[in-house]
């Protein structure tokens, strides 16, 4: 039982990272009808920005964190203007290919600057963790879970309680109608890209101390997050979060009880099972609302 609780904690922690990246996928998908294949690279770039500011330049952790997130917001702007905006009137295919191109550009740029050796980033806290009864709570995982919970509430408040959130929803449901009402569609999409880049960046910074900071970390996280959005029901915000958490828990238990080398395999086994038996995902029927 102790082990189960311990694994559950770790699983939810890693699942929260998938959930944050998945949320970025879903928000961009809803606003633009395009899957952003560079979403994982946002996490990777943010982790490297942390390494630059916090490790290389030796700036305080919190300051590096704020600047890295600011950098991600800027990257969101550049990404929107450089990748999405010029192709916005085209079909989804050119845009998807452009996001794949951007993803390759981002990872190779970082590779050119930093080389292939993985970097190490310290966690936010000096204390490694606390023992709570039978369960050891790693401080970084605690932080990840706390930030994710806070963001879920923020997300709910922002999209459900503010007029700006409603305008973003309206834009994602019917761009032409939104523009007829005087909603600036290009501004709404810009906000979506900034928010998604910051979310992805946050996930990368939070997970970096748990993993190594490497060029590949983005694509690994993004694949899991993508699987999470499909399991949750593509395009559904709650589904992305539930799917992410579920995936983290499943792969952690799979690794502990069945096989460590096949850890990543479990996530994709679940994905394949969902694609065969419930392709619309857990919250799939709600996706139809968007149509």
């Amino acid at each position: 039982m102790d082990l189960v609780l311990q694994l559950l904690f770790t699983g939810i922690g890693i699942g929260a990272v998938y959930a944050l990246v998945a949320l970025g996928f879903v928000l961009i998908f809803r606003a633009t009808n395009v899957v952003n294949f560079a979403q994982g690279e946002f996490s990777m770039v943010a982790a490297y920005l942390m390494v630059v500011f916090s490790v290389d330049l030796g700036w305080p952790y919190w300051l590096s964190f704020l600047i890295a997130l600011g950098g991600m917001a800027l990257l969101g702007v550049i990404f929107n203007l450089g990748v999405y905006y010029p192709l916005r009137h085209r079909t989804f295919l050119p845009v998807i290919i452009a996001t794949i191109g951007a993803s390759i550009l981002l990872s190779n740029s970082v590779l050119a600057i930093y080389g292939p050796q993985p970097q190490v980033l310290q966690g936010w806290f000096d204390t490694p963790g606390i023992q709570l009864g039978p369960v050891y709570l790693d401080s970084q995982y605690l932080l990840i879970i706390a930030v994710t919970i806070a963001l879920v509430f923020f997300n709910y408040w922002f999209f459900e309680k503010t007029l700006l959130g409603k305008k973003l929803q309206a834009t994602s449901q019917d761009k032409e109608m939104a523009s007829l009402l005087g909603i600036s569609v290009s501004t709404m999409i810009m906000i979506t890209f900034i928010y998604s880049a910051v979310l992805g960046g946050l996930a990368g910074i939070l997970v970096a101390p748990v993993l190594f900071v490497s060029i590949q970390m983005g694509s690994t996280i993004a694949l899991k997050a993508f699987a999470a959005t499909i399991i949750g029901g593509f395009g559904d915000v709650a589904g992305a979060i539930i799917g992410g958490l579920a995936l983290g828990v499943i792969e952690t238990f799979g690794a502990a009880y069945i096989s460590v080398p096949y850890k990543d395999g479990f996530a994709f086994l679940v994905l394949v099972a969902f694609l065969i038996f419930r392709p619309q995902g857990i919250f799939g029927e709600r996706v139809a609302e968007k149509a």
């Binding site: 929803q169 032409e176 109608m177 939104a178 005087g182 609302e289």
Partner: protein, 242 residues
């Protein structure tokens, strides 16, 4: 000077010339109805006015200023509100949220907009009970009410209404037209209708479009009086409600 004046408007969709030189004028305070068969160019005319379709040539003057070529976001800020074909109520937002977003063309606080949306239910009492229902749960008539209420939230000087009666039961059509005759007290309306009888019943002036051209214009009784036109475009009794 007319509030809206369109001269020789040409709109093309690729190779197809949807409008081939449309000229109409809408005086302030009037209800003007645009009649015509499917594909005659009625919706395209409205889409060109609101900025959804780019004119290939011709002029669109609103209050004497050219608005041809402006984007929809800029045009609605000038005071032209377009309630498009098919209602286009946001399915995942509630009725009240839909109506509130109608004020996106002007500066007002969220609290102010919320109060105005509540007041809108006095004009549309039938949808008051559905204020918190999501758009996709509504019936066609309710959707039409929401769409018109949302259009009015822009406080438009000119309201463009595209086929408000389409697909609605006759009793609902009458309710919608009762609302149009109330709106006209404060707002100029350019109405597109296939239902000629209903469309002309509220109109001060009517135009008949045929394959991208205006073939006839005049007061409703003049249009009814023109026998050939009445038979061809306005329909007999059998076709009038079709």
């Amino acid at each position: 000077m007319p509030l809206l004046e369109i001269r020789n408007l040409v709109v093309r969709y690729g190779e197809i010339e949807a409008l081939r030189g449309v000229t109409i004028a809408v005086e302030a305070g009037q209800v003007v109805t645009l009649l015509g068969a499917n594909g005659a160019g009625k919706s395209t005319t409205l889409r060109a006015i609101s900025g959804l379709a780019k004119p290939a040539s011709g002029e669109i003057l609103f209050d004497g200023e050219s608005i041809a070529g402006l984007g929809p976001e800029a045009i609605v800020r000038l005071g032209i509100s377009h309630v498009p074909e098919g209602r286009r109520v946001f399915p995942g937002l509630t009725v009240k949220e839909n109506i509130m977003l109608g004020a996106s063309n002007r500066k007002a606080s969220a609290a102010q907009i919320s109060r105005e949306a509540d007041a809108m239910f006095d004009l549309f009492p039938d949808i008051r009970a559905f204020a918190d229902a999501l758009g996709w749960t509504l019936s066609g008539g309710q959707l039409q009410m929401v769409a018109v209420a949302r259009g009015l939230m822009a406080k438009p000087r000119l309201l463009l209404l595209d086929e408000p009666s389409l697909g609605l039961a006759p009793v609902i059509v009458q309710a919608v037209f009762r609302i149009i005759s109330q709106i006209r007290k404060d707002t100029t309306v350019l109405l597109v209708e296939q239902n000629a009888r209903m469309g002309l019943s509220v109109a001060d002036h009517g135009f008949v479009l045929e394959t991208g051209r205006i073939v006839l214009g005049g007061k409703p009784d003049e249009l009814w009086g023109n026998e050939a036109i009445a038979a061809a475009y306005l329909g007999g009794h059998a076709k009038a409600s079709a």
